[in-house]
Symmetry: C2
Subunit: 513 residues, 2 copies
């Protein structure tokens, strides 16, 4: 996340791998390190390899060595930045988890994770649930990218923990999700609403109802009377989306709490993919991006959250809670800084109500620094941060002030669902996830063309092809080192940022439950 | 806007045309009526005809009698509701205005409208600006629909006034808009930025700069030094959008002020179309809708603002300003009312951070009435209003309480631009505007098919065809009176609401400036 946070990272002094210290926190912290820096576990790197990977001159591209380590033959590649931070602040995680329903009779959620990896590798091979238990287990495929800033601590922590929070929230609704054709009951412990019941789902319903301690079977004396008010119907899909949304919030709360006792530096964006019961869910908080490439066509699966895309939300918040601006910022936007000599003149502006621009007479108050300032990759909130959603950043303040950034940041993802099992996918249909290092220099169309072209030239049975394609993408975005820096096609500048890319083939979803 | 506002309209007692009173304000008002009830001026109806049109049993469809009254051979038709309110609460306005630039040397905007109709008819024929003055005049085509609720007063006022506010705001930037290739200067009175200057626009620029009292010609001793900070470039289109946005706000402020001294009842939605310098601008605040039909394909030109579509904005506001809920409402949404016996159980909910749903343990506070309640056309904010953007409603309160609705309503439109002059349009390519009475019962696709089919069967040279097509649409949405009510195709229920429809052919835009 190049130059995203105006912090004194350049003053970095510690050794990268110095035992016990994550080394990228310039101010230093005497608190213990709970989540030491590393590269993604699935890369299977030795400490030596990790050290070698952090060569800001050579910028070696790391790829997945053993294709079978990840589910669905997922491909992965990454490269470190060109020197903006000593460590690679991107992190990645991929897991296949089995989520077991909450024990019957427990009325409050059990906060002990009842999840387990399906095997010693995250690819999920072996040890699935027993056939007889399947109704009460969910198999969850999970891929995630985190792009850190102002330190790697939060990105590392999130890469270790976020999937457990998602599993915990799904656990609360496992029983419902496992019962096809049963709409989620509005209130747990009451008669569920059922629709289009098949004999199988009727049996499942009866079982689910009894497990949930419902008042009784339909028609029994304890059946509650029919209600005459309308009731909104909530889909299974909405429950999964709600689970992912609330997991992000819990993750952020956990980071806040742990920051009080451990050294966990910075903040990070988060882009996660969950595959569950035939659907892909893409949750995004930040400026990473996911696209599906299907038959060569691009289907965007995320939108970026930046000072520009979230301007109106932030201006609205500042307008309603002006104390958050500490008397140093204005919620209005101007095309550039206002100068004192311009007071009394008419200048272009816009506020939270406006997509367009108009002229206003400049007052003294307009001389304050704008809440949102700059364009494109240089746009900043409170002159500090260039991304408006993500995890962490609880202690981040405007330089040399007591103005906190966090109230303007949201940890809530936007979640998009894609009904994977409804389509037949070919071997070249993929979901591409990348941190902004990729998308800053390559358009969706360029990525789609590169991947489609690359895969077409591979042996369709080569399981390594998706990692090779990911490596190709990272190479195209990093470029090659020429006299004056990293260059990509058409002599454009390559990305000097950390770059991480997943390529997930979709045809495997056809066969999964 | 059927059953939109839970008000005692049914208790209506006054005579509809009773002189001086608009008659639809059940509580009555002793204040004078400034904007008496009427039907759109361009219909040219006599008082008798207006009275006859308000027949809730026959529901006669009113159409434009003289095609030439409106620009571009625009078609128009309307029908009154089936009895929900005595008056037709929809209003419409169509004008062609000439906007003259603000006089040179006046540094603050002149609030006297420097607009005039181009002729005694709104079709704009005759008396255009003199050729030599053209640089400093803008010709503005304007169509608008207003859908009133809880009285017709605000809808009538807005139909008389909103275009003047738009013209006033455009007047401030007329000089800039009239100078092609000149980007709007960030600060008025300073050197403008010019791009791709042709000799003509260079002359225009010099003239504009001198008129604006700029520091001097480029290169002169008084030229300010080059700046090294970045400056956002603002387009002409953004200026027009900003003008429309701010005009809506000014309109709402004027209504608030006049409500203090005049009897102006209720509130209204507003859907306006502005054609200016080759582009169509569609501004929408409410639940009316505009679509373009081009070669039979639908291009949506507006989105509706309802309690459901704006749930998260409203919940966010309530979360941050809980006093607006008066201790009687909760910002959380539940699928239905929570009952006291459910306290302690887990129920589905969502807050402003969530698109999905999750379970929470019900507390006493959750027994309050939800800020957003109901589904589809029955969804309400604060149990009162079913539309979340529009004009007026300043005095509207939750029934039997002191909780005001207005803080949750926005008068800000969403404005979409369509580059009309960039396309060649055929005679059957049209922009359709309709109040929700139309769209409640007909889909975009049904409207597009009906219009396309109807126009294909007309003589292409018949200027009356667009009004005939509008009449056909209103007929399809109203239906015919059968034993049990108004019925449309496939024995569906027709709309019992007021219905108003414009059909604006786009081919005339090809030839306009």
């Amino acid at each position: 996340m190049l130059t995203r946070v105006k912090s004194a990272v350049a003053n970095f002094m510690g050794g990268m791998m110095a035992g016990g210290s994550n080394g990228d926190h310039p101010g230093g912290s005497d608190m213990p390190l709970k989540y030491p820096y590393s590269r993604p576990e699935f890369l299977g790197l030795s400490p030596d390899e990790i050290e070698c990977s952090a060569d800001h001159i050579a910028r070696p591209i790391l790829i997945l060595k053993e294709t079978k380590r990840l589910p669905w033959s997922t491909g992965y590649a990454e490269v470190i930045n060109a020197g903006k931070s000593t460590l690679n602040e991107d992190q990645a995680c991929c897991e296949v988890l089995v989520v077991k329903r909450r024990p019957a009779g427990s009325s409050t959620p059990n906060r002990t994770p009842l999840t387990r990896r399906r095997s010693s590798l995250p690819n999920g091979e072996g040890m699935g649930p027993r056939e007889s238990d399947k109704l009460l287990y969910l198999t969850l495929h999970y891929w995630a990218l985190f792009d850190g800033h102002a330190g790697s601590g939060v990105a590392v922590a999130a890469s270790r923990l976020l999937h457990h929070h998602i599993a915990l929230h799904l656990q609360e609704v496992t029983e419902i999700l496992c019962t096809p054709n049963l709409l989620p009951p509005t209130c747990l412990g009451e008669e569920p609403i059922n629709h289009h019941l098949t004999p199988t789902s009727q049996r499942a319903l009866t079982r689910a109802a009894s497990l949930r301690g419902a008042a009784g079977a339909p028609g029994s004396p304890s059946t509650p009377p029919t209600r005459f008010f309308t009731e909104k119907k909530v889909s299974h899909e909405s429950l999964v989306i709600g689970a992912i949304e609330n997991a992000f919030k819990d993750m952020d709360v956990q980071i806040e709490k742990e920051k009080a006792v451990y050294n966990i530096s910075g903040g990070c964006t988060a882009l996660v993919v969950v595959y569950l019961l035939g659907k892909l869910y893409v949750g995004n908080a930040g400026d990473s991006r996911a696209i599906i490439i299907r038959a060569g066509e691009v289907i965007p699966m995320s939108t970026e959250f930046t000072p520009e895309s979230e301007r109106r939300r932030l201006q609205f918040l500042a307008y309603m809670q002006p104390h958050l601006l500490g008397n140093e910022f204005t919620h209005l936007e101007f095309p550039r800084r206002v100068q004192r000599k311009e007071v009394g003149k008419r200048m272009l502006y816009r506020d939270f109500t406006m997509a367009g621009w108009a002229y206003k007479t400049i007052e003294d108050d307009d001389l304050k620094f704008p809440l949102i300032y700059g364009e494109g990759k240089k746009a900043r909130v409170l002159a500090t941060i260039g991304v408006t959603r993500g995890l962490g950043d609880h202690n981040l303040k405007v330089h040399d002030s007591n103005i906190y950034i966090k109230p303007f940041l949201s940890c809530c993802p936007e979640v998009k669902a894609y009904p994977l099992a409804q389509y037949e996918h070919e071997a070249d249909d993929v979901l591409v996830l990348g941190t902004d290092g990729l998308w800053d220099v390559l358009s969706n169309q360029e990525v789609a063309e590169a991947v489609t072209c690359f895969l077409a030239n591979c042996d369709p049975d080569d399981q390594h092809r998706y990692t090779m394609a990911a490596q190709d993408l990272v190479m195209r975005a990093r470029g090659v080192l020429k006299d004056r820096g990293w260059r990509i096609s058409n002599d454009r500048l390559g990305s000097g940022d950390d770059i991480s890319v997943y390529i997930i083939p979709l045809m495997y979803g056809n066969k999964q439950n």
